[in-house]
């Protein structure tokens, strides 16, 4: 399911609005679930959410584009975020970055054609005492070495 069917989005949004409520304050949890389920928040999904919460679509767009974990473009099933902040940097993040690029055949900022992987940098993820560190979706991986990274990627593939 690369581009989800409109009906699927309509019923998902309906379900989420029921779950969280109609108030504007529920916008972020709703967006987070749509992101998690579909890998991005399409124009159609934004319009549908705006319609249900009775706010302008531009408001929803403004929120989606503000947060780095929400995206208007399709992301991979596995979003890999390597920490590039200083403690991980001095712990050897560059070697990990090169390994990831080579093994996935992707550059940072790219998503694979089959939408399996997205590769990104992120800022400090609070694992600075165990760097280099990265997140794959919600899971955290620490004390990375090139061979550990290869193993992690192989396991997912």
């Amino acid at each position: 399911m690369i581009y989800p069917d409109k009906n699927v989005i309509v019923s998902e949004v309906e379900h989420l609005v029921e779950k969280y409520g109609f108030g504007r304050e529920n916008l972020l949890p709703i967006l987070q679930e749509v992101q998690r389920k579909f890998g991005f928040i399409s124009d159609f999904a934004m319009q549908e959410i705006a319609h249900r919460l009775d706010i302008h679509p531009v408001e929803v767009y403004g929120v989606v584009t503000f947060y780095s974990f929400l995206s208007t473009e399709p992301k991979g099933k596995y979003v890999i975020r390597l920490c590039k902040t200083i403690s991980c940097d001095i712990a050897g993040k560059d070697a990990i970055a090169r390994t990831l690029e080579r093994e996935l055949g992707l550059k940072f900022g790219e998503t694979s054609a089959d939408r399996k992987f997205s590769l990104e940098f992120c800022h400090c993820i609070g694992m600075c005492d165990q760097g280099p560190a990265m997140l794959i979706n919600d899971q955290v991986f620490t004390k990375l070495t090139p061979s550990k990274v290869i193993e992690i990627i192989e396991n997912i593939k």
């Binding site: 972020l28 940097d89 609070g126 600075c128």
Partner: protein
């Protein structure tokens, strides 16, 4: 000489029964106890917690809210993660105590998206508290009711700033508000709200269980109690340390096994960088305040590279609402590039320092007000190193 081997958080036996004690007191008495302890906010700014709670208690409104700031985005900080995962009770019951103190009905944990893996653990703990009548209706058989909901962030550092956090909770872009009005009067959905750091709630728990007198035995005149410090970088034993306020940087470096240190960054990207000639300074609100991030750099490290890393962070995380921060951070980053290329004259460097000082005054929120700190302190304290690049650029790479 401060006591280093004494611990509060890390000694389970010392925790005691804070919630039971608090609910036997009046809200005013709880607030007074917190005030007497001298507890100041652990998120960095150090606002007296008792005063914040007092203001929220005296605000008249039919709803009030408690927010636990678990956004922990300051580079080099991870002590809140450890508290949330290993000392969950102190944090969550500390929130209930805060709720009771200001007479709130509802609390939120604003958990950074990067810590989403803690969501289930926290939710399970909240369920357990409800079963044990420590949360929900009629807590411990009293007529006080309070519940807690977890909200996830979505990867924006500025949402740790309390008014941006409230904007985010309300479903908006995380853009800081003008203050005043302060959240204690006009917070979540316009209702009085206290926003406190994870560690502050854990400290409030300790104060209620051990008493204000006991708590204020630790620390210095204006900085009471112990502080959790997240240590990373070039040290043998990175991790979270519990130390009394007033500990010198030198003592801390010995404790963590710093390896040939050249510089110590205190307070994360928005903190300051000190050279070894200043290690007799101490961690406290009187001298060097910090939310708890300490990063050590050994003598092999390029300070320009360190500075570039911090400035890139601010350029990417600025919310862009106000000009001093949006444009200023870019200018400072360009300055770093000029320094790397050996093309930054001393005169231009001084202009950049002045720009940094303007940003400290003119920016709308703490992000822009503190983002020039690493620039100013690194170019001042390590001037010989950062001015030594030739026109082709040779270090800093």
């Amino acid at each position: 000489m401060p006591i280093i081997n004494d611990t509060i958080f890390f000694d389970e036996k010392a925790h005691g029964e804070a919630l039971e004690k608090a609910l036997k007191l009046t809200p005013q008495e709880v607030v007074m106890e917190i005030r007497e302890s001298g507890l100041r906010g652990r998120g960095g700014a150090g606002f007296p917690t008792g005063t914040k709670w007092m203001l929220a208690l005296s605000a008249k409104a039919d709803k009030k809210f408690v927010v636990c700031n678990a956004d922990e985005g300051e580079p080099g900080t991870f002590k809140d993660r450890v508290l949330l995962s290993e000392y969950t009770k102190l944090v969550l019951e500390g929130m209930v105590i805060g709720g009771y103190a200001i007479q709130a009905q509802k609390g939120f944990i604003y958990l950074r998206g990067e810590y989403a893996y803690l969501f289930d653990h926290l939710n399970t703990y909240l369920e357990r508290m409800r079963r044990e009548k420590r949360l929900g209706n009629n807590i411990l058989g009293t007529n006080y009711s309070f519940d807690i909901e977890i909200r996830l962030g979505s990867g924006a550092y500025v949402c740790g700033e309390e008014t941006a956090l409230i904007e985010s909770l309300e479903g908006h872009r995380g853009e800081a508000r003008n203050r005043p009005p302060f959240p204690v009067n006009t917070g979540y959905l316009g209702y009085p709200t206290i926003v406190n750091n994870v560690e502050t709630f854990a400290c409030a728990y300790i104060v209620m269980s051990k008493g204000a007198q006991w708590f204020s035995k630790y620390g210095t005149e204006k900085s009471k109690g112990m502080k959790l410090i997240s240590v990373s970088g070039d040290v043998k034993k990175p991790g979270v340390y519990e130390v009394p306020f007033g500990i010198t940087i030198k003592e801390l470096l010995e404790l963590v096994g710093a390896e040939e240190p050249k510089a110590v960054q205190i307070g994360g990207a928005s903190g300051i960088c000190i050279p070894m000639s200043e290690v007799n300074r101490n961690i406290s609100f009187e001298d060097i305040p910090t939310g708890g991030s300490v990063i050590v750099f050994n003598k092999e490290r390029s300070m320009l590279k360190v500075l570039r890393n911090f400035m890139e962070f601010f350029v990417e995380e600025s919310c862009g609402q106000c000009t001093p921060c949006r444009v200023g951070n870019k200018k400072l980053l360009e300055g770093v590039e000029l320094l790397e290329e050996g093309r930054c004259s001393h005169r231009y460097l001084n202009e950049l320092i002045e720009l940094g000082k303007t940003m400290q005054i003119a920016s709308k929120c703490g992000l822009g007000q503190s983002s020039p700190n690493p620039f100013i302190s690194i170019v001042t304290n390590f001037k010989d190193e950062i001015m030594s690049n030739s026109i082709r650029g040779n270090n800093g790479k």
